[in-house]
């Protein structure tokens, strides 16, 4: 396996606010390798933004170390910055009275791109995010999605080895969000190490190689995506609807649970959770449906949001 490009070890961060101490991160350790997308999940206030800030050298860790491309973010911020691109979510962080081109040019300079490179990359970078036509308009006339795309261009113009995205799809319509995901996927293909926080679970499903679950300032899960989904305890949900009197579920085989058999106008509905597909399960469902007056049957794969809701909501 490739060397990790980002390595966090025992990172903690607390804030002293009016004598009270708020702990955002307790102790966080993880690695991101080249060509890998790690998504960080967590409820509001779980510490995702704090983690992004620390990785981008905006905030010093209270304890622990982070190496970005071999540079310590606390001791050698310049070295770390040279390898890092950051994409902020939301529509702030731009000089709104100036044009998109002016913004990109200035922030490109700030992110360390040289004179000649900058001149060469500017048109292509604007083109890539679909802003070539609007490049010379003031950003205050941009829509939310256009501003977000400008942030993306800014984050990418330095061709970073490490890309940090904090809720990059906030406020984007599905088409824009998909475009952003394509851009991130391209960068991964080029070998960047990418960390992405999001509340949009579609981002996670489409992009993530690994999922980090943050809870109370700790990483509760650090798993490959399929494994994370499996952790929810079932891989599929089967919903059966029928007419007449609801049949009794009877004796359930191993790996099948039934949530409820509910009355719905004039009929009933039963939901089964399956840990996997095996002979026993098929036989059971077949028997159940043979005894009943079935109208329809729907099968749904378990998804990230099931996992997220379950893990985030779980106690302990």
């Amino acid at each position: 396996m490739a060397e990790p490009v980002v390595a966090a070890e025992g990172v903690a961060r607390w804030f002293d606010v009016k004598r009270a101490r708020v702990t955002a991160l307790e102790s966080v350790s993880f690695e991101i390798r080249a060509g890998e997308v790690v998504t960080v999940l967590g409820t509001n206030g779980a510490g995702k933004t704090t983690l992004t800030k620390i990785l981008s050298t905006l905030l010093l860790p209270s304890r622990g170390t982070v190496l970005v491309n071999g540079h310590d973010v606390a001791a050698d911020p310049r070295g770390a910055r040279a390898a890092t691109g950051v994409i902020f979510g939301g529509d702030r962080g731009l000089y709104t009275r100036l044009s998109g081109r002016d913004n990109l040019r200035f922030f490109g300079m700030l992110s360390g791109v040289g004179r000649r490179d900058l001149r060469q990359r500017l048109p292509g970078a604007l083109e890539q995010v679909g802003l070539a036509g609007a490049a010379d308009r003031a950003v205050e006339t941009y829509s939310k999605g256009m501003r977000q795309r400008l942030h993306i261009a800014i984050g990418l113009i330095g061709r970073p080895r490490v890309l940090l995205l904090d809720e990059p799809t906030v406020g984007l319509d599905p088409v824009e969000a998909q475009r952003l995901r394509a851009a991130v996927a391209d960068l991964r293909a080029d070998g960047a190490a990418i960390m992405l926080t999001s509340h949009n679970l579609l981002d996670v499903e489409r992009l993530a190689d690994r999922v980090l679950m943050l809870r109370g300032g700790r990483i509760t899960h650090d798993l490959p995506l399929p494994e994370f989904v499996r952790q929810v305890g079932h891989t599929a949900t089967v919903t059966v609807r029928g007419r007449g009197r609801p049949p009794a579920p009877g004796a359930l085989p191993d790996g099948v649970t039934v949530s409820e058999v509910a009355d719905v106008d004039g009929g009933w509905e039963a939901t089964f959770y399956l840990r996997g597909w095996d002979r026993q399960t098929f036989d059971y469902l077949g028997g159940f449906m043979a005894d009943a007056d079935v109208l329809d049957c729907a099968v749904r794969e378990s998804r990230v949001d099931d996992a997220f809701a379950r893990l985030a909501g779980a106690v302990g």
Binding site: R13, F15, T49, T50, K53, S56, T57, L58, L59, L60, P77, R78, R81, A82, V86, F88, G89, G90, R92, G93, L94, Y95, T96, R97, L98, D102, R105, F106, F107, M109, L110, S111, G112, G114, R115, A138, I154, D166
Partner: protein, 260 residues
């Protein structure tokens, strides 16, 4: 300093000019900003005549021509460091390849140029209108001294603005400093009338520079005054430097940079 650093600083100046023109489009400069400077100079010169006759008017004119630079420096710069906080661009400025103090310093360039333009306009308009045309002519070769005053007051303005950012009192500090300079800067009231005013004025920008200008007008030696003005300006510049550096470090330690 490498050529790459120079290029970066140049890009930052360019950005400063863009931001300045977005804030003050030429139309606004021509219809409100510059007329205001000229009218203020005119008002103070006439006030000088009211209290001190023709000699008073001349004294006030020389002072007012220097004082109006504060419109673009101590007052004008007061909200400049605040700008990045408002836009939410501070995180990028703080993590950029150009030190935040260089970004700030280069952004003052259009303000400095504009301040000097205002001085020239005052010499062109107010001098002739108030019967001080000869003084205007005599002051023309002393424009470099006015330029020094522009620089030193900009340093003070930047330092105060940087100090005011956290508390959000930029408007108060900027305007307060400007009025303080009117009151004790030897602009309209000759030095030596009020002891405490002299003491306070001697650490403020403009006062010594103005003494240098007046001395040069009178054909007296003025280098010592100039040196004093430069010293005061350097002091304020150092204060600005230390303040911004401290704030940058503190933002990283405390996480109170507005993120997004």
């Amino acid at each position: 300093m490498t050529t790459a650093d120079l290029w970066r600083a140049g890009e930052s100046v360019r950005m400063g000019v863009r931001l300045y023109l977005a804030e003050y489009p030429p139309r606004i400069l021509a219809t409100t900003v510059w007329p205001r400077a000229v009218l203020q100079c005119l008002f103070l010169t006439l006030l000088g005549r009211v209290v001190g006759g023709a000699e008073g008017a001349r004294f006030a004119f020389v002072g007012a021509a220097a004082l109006i630079v504060t419109l673009r420096t101590t007052t004008g710069l007061s909200d400049m460091p605040m700008r990045d906080k408002l836009y939410g661009t501070l995180p990028r400025v703080h993590t950029g390849h150009l030190s935040p103090i260089v970004v700030l310093a280069t952004r003052t360039v259009p303000y400095l140029v504009d301040a000097l333009v205002a001085v020239v306009l005052c010499l062109l308009v107010v001098g002739p209108v108030t019967g001080n045309a000869a003084t205007s002519l005599a002051l023309a070769p002393l424009l470099p001294l006015y330029a020094v005053v522009v620089l030193t007051s900009a340093a003070a303005g930047l330092a105060c603005a940087a100090l005011a950012v956290r508390a959000g009192v930029d408007e108060l500090i900027g305007n307060g400093l400007s009025y303080l300079i009117i009151a004790v800067g030897g602009v309209l009231i000759p030095p030596g009338v009020l002891g405490w005013a002299d003491a306070l004025g001697s650490v403020l920008p403009i006062r010594h520079g103005l003494q240098a200008i007046r001395a040069a007008l009178a054909g007296e030696p003025w280098l010592a005054h100039l040196a004093a003005e430069l010293g005061v300006g350097l002091g304020w510049a150092l204060l600005a430097l230390v303040t911004v550096a401290r704030q940058t470090r503190r933002a990283r330690r405390r996480g109170d940079t507005d993120f997004y």
